[in-house]
Amino acid sequence: MTYEVVIGLETHAELATITKLFCGCSTKFGVEPNTQVCPVCLAMPGVLPVMNKKAFEYALKAAIALNCKIDEFTNFDRKSYYYPDLPKNYQISQNYHNMGIDGYMDISVNGTISRIRIHNVHLEEEAGKLIHPEEVGADYSLVDFNRAGVPLLEIVSYPDMRRVDEVESYMQTLRKILLYTEVSDCKMQEGSLRFEASISLRKKGVDRLGNRVEIKNLNSMKSVLKAIEYETMRQRDVLDRGETVDRETRLWDEVNEKSARMRSKEESQDYRYFPEPDLLPVLIDEKWLRAIKDTIPELPLIRRQRFIETFALSDYDASLLIDEKILADFFEECVKILNRPKSFCNWITNDLLREVKDRKLDIYHLKIKPKQLAALVEIIEKGTISSTIAKEVFSEMIQTGKDPKTVVEEKKLVQISDEGLIEEIIIKIISSNPDAIEDYKKGKKNALTFLVGQVMKETKGKANPKIVNEMLMKKVGV
């Protein structure tokens, strides 16, 4: 039987504020347990939350960037449940008036654009962190409340995805939008970006959705995709046996690459949402909305399209560049100085990214500046250095932040174009390699390549290869 897979995603992103949502405690990651907590985020009796303006504006910014409808009235609700990582026994979230509803995000799969609708975007507070000791027979868990109260954005998609490549593109595109708008650092390894998937299968051509299964505990984009593949097979087997899929929540087991039931729909929780009386509503006027809108930069997919059209870059190159906003910015700075888009694109996507990877550099704090890369491309074009030497110069530049001219002078890398000097070297090479000359005269073309190589070696790569080639051909008599 052929089935259609219907997939929706819930995304949680911790917002990039310095302090928590309702108190002045730091949101810094990786500090000693329970050292970034106060009476508010520990839910001591009598404390009152006060909303962090930046967190609210970040959430609003994300909702706008995801093309949501923004109501002029918004407020917060209590979502009640008991769990040791939740000190108040309720989470302040939004249920009746979300930050934004009915938005969409365009994604690109193999060059085809499709539109995934966004059901809602809302702001809530993060829970604490539970640690389950690995020692055998341990009958306790440990709680760290440093994360409790960190502002958390939840983005709920409609079940508009049908294939894993769409899911992958959705996750990548959403991550880029959150990074471009600078509302979250999206560090998945630190848990600041997390996904939950809901999956159902239906027979092809049938409108009604099948029973939906939610998958939690997905720690990387890779596990999201693996879990969806696993769940698709599991549900297909159930349906093929003529049974029905239970509506339930399942936990993904990363090690064994399978999922197990966490709770069924019958056991599902009663959150008893009601408006949070400790917080006042927020009214959003046109002026405020416009001010937030103005802070949203050109978004990745649009930027990619502009790069392809304006700079004649390939889809692949443009995608690589826009992948990290900082790289795309770097590229545009270079092009502003010198109109050589293709050349800068190559330097950035090949050499720069390789150096960054090999030397484990932080792309947000690169020593090399756009005007220096532009100067490098300029002296290659002038013939001051060869493109081979340029790679060496670039490597030095990215490590030290020196200007290309300084590197060339310090390392004496200026290209040798003096024909007299090159001729001397050629004569020397010819006389010490008589066999190669013989070979060449017998018709072995690569003997010439060998001789060119010898000249380059003698000059440590500095001889102008074009001149070397021409003079050698003359010397050996072609």
């Binding site: 310095i18 302090t19 405690c25 329970n34 407020n75 440990l142 709680v143």
Partner: protein, 95 residues
């Protein structure tokens, strides 16, 4: 609407409290009395009245994203029934 014993039991479960049979009966009675009172209000025509969650007209109260000192670890853990290396220690939870 009438509250029965099962509903009282469900509320007790959600609130993590244990009730005796006697208490259950007592709460059925008390909660129904409250609901009976509310029923009277339900007779009012509220069709064109928006639900009100806030009694004041104040809105948009914010704080700036500025750090404030947290409290010392020893004060954080002072009321905890059990602790371990700076953590709160709780009965094992695995969902």
């Amino acid at each position: 609407m009438k509250i029965d014993k099962d509903q009282v039991e469900n509320i007790a479960k959600l609130s993590r409290i244990r009730l005796t049979e006697l208490e259950r009966e007592m709460f059925v009675h008390q909660l129904n009395n409250i609901l009976f009172y509310i029923e009277k209000l339900n007779k009012l025509d509220t069709e064109n009245v928006a639900p009100m969650a806030y009694t004041s007209d104040v809105s948009n109260v914010f704080r700036e994203d500025k750090l404030k000192p947290s409290i010392p670890l020893q004060d954080v853990l002072i009321n905890a029934p059990a602790t371990k290396s700076g953590f709160f220690k709780v009965p094992k939870v695995i969902e």
